[in-house]
Symmetry: C2
Subunit: 229 residues, 2 copies
């Protein structure tokens, strides 16, 4: 790593030297810096347009899902707290980048890269808020609370919906089978049996239609394009 | 208006006929449909890229601002509730379109168009949730609660920050003066004296640097490009 401080977005047009106190200045600096989340591209294709989704759009979508689907949580969850978790869960990707779900090589040092990124990004905030956001992010990562498990379930269910709508999407990643998809998505079941059942129904039907390679491999289902709708 | 039902995004790849019950099916239909928010472009330029912001990115950014700036609310606010308001405040634009802040002609029938859009979009949800989201949206629009006033303040402060970073942005809209900007942004002061003071500092400094036309008009400040930073 370089010792050079990373240039901040706010450095392009610094705030006036007076009239905004130090605490608010730090908060606004952070809020400008996180504009970068809008430029971090994911693998998932949008439903409504022919381009990939970015992390800010994804995070908003998860927050809406929490509000609408919270009733399916198998353990009671605090909806507002769960929304906080999904809103910030991808912020570290601003400095660490997106690690695609099916890229096992990039996953190796992912945790370390993201922890360094968290220190740097949250460190822009006043100390009390930096600590609070770091705790929320740690909670999401550790999945030890019902809220964190439900947030993670939304993070896996949302691209599943996008892939269904795209008739494959990242399910078509070379080398990935329907069983790989099932393995990566099974954490939905840690939060909600109902949502995992619905998710499995879409994965199964996608496999049947040839939108993913059959789990056992080489049985000829791959490429079957008996699509409906 | 046409009597034809509007095609839904989910119609492109309908869910399997079995295995997902009616209530969950309605909820997933809504959650797929709101993917459209990612395609509604605003006038504001991003900080981190040279393109306009979309409504989903904007809504996510407001939610983060609520979490970080809530301490400046002049009345006590419920942070989770305020976040809910900002997450859904622009959903009606999926069917009603974005009405630019400085487009007074388009603003004339905006309320009516948006109310029709709200009925249609929220109506995709099960009745209890449709009613809850409609009440939240009405609350935001009516600005009668501290949470709604703070949500509205974020909705005005965020593009102010983007315009500052862009050294003008929509402040450069033809015919718009710095006093017009002040008039449109003054609602920030209904929620937070501190944030409105900071906002005014940026508007004043932007005017001084020639990033907006001087409020009194024709006094020669317009076009002054004494930019710093």
């Amino acid at each position: 790593m370089s010792d050079e401080p990373r240039p901040l977005l706010v450095d392009r047009t610094p705030f006036p030297a007076d009239g905004i106190d130090e605490r608010l200045r730090a908060q606004l600096t952070f809020l400008v810096e996180i504009d970068r989340l809008k430029t971090i591209l994911r693998q998932s294709p949008l439903v409504a347009a022919t381009r990939r989704e970015n992390d800010a759009e994804h995070s908003w979508h998860l927050a809406m899902m929490v509000g609408v689907l919270a009733e399916y949580a198998d353990e009671p969850i605090d909806v507002g707290h769960t929304v906080q978790l999904v809103l910030l869960h991808d912020l570290v990707e601003i400095y660490a980048g997106d690690t695609p779900l099916y890229d096992t090589a990039a996953g190796v040092d992912q945790a370390e890269r993201e922890a360094v990124a968290a220190d740097e990004l949250f460190g822009l905030l006043p100390k009390d808020q930096a600590q609070r956001l770091r705790e929320l992010w740690d909670e999401f990562e550790e999945r030890r609370t019902p809220e964190a498990r439900f947030a993670k379930a939304m993070d896996r269910l949302q691209p599943l919906l996008l892939n269904w709508m795209a008739r494959g999407g990242t399910w078509r990643t070379p080398g990935v089978t329907a069983d790989d998809v099932r393995a990566r998505k099974a954490v939905i079941g840690d939060a909600s049996a109902t949502l995992w059942k619905a998710g499995q129904r879409l994965i199964d039907e996608g496999e049947r239609r040839g939108w993913s390679r059959s789990g056992s491999g080489g049985d000829g289902d791959s490429g079957d394009s008996a699509e409906q709708g």
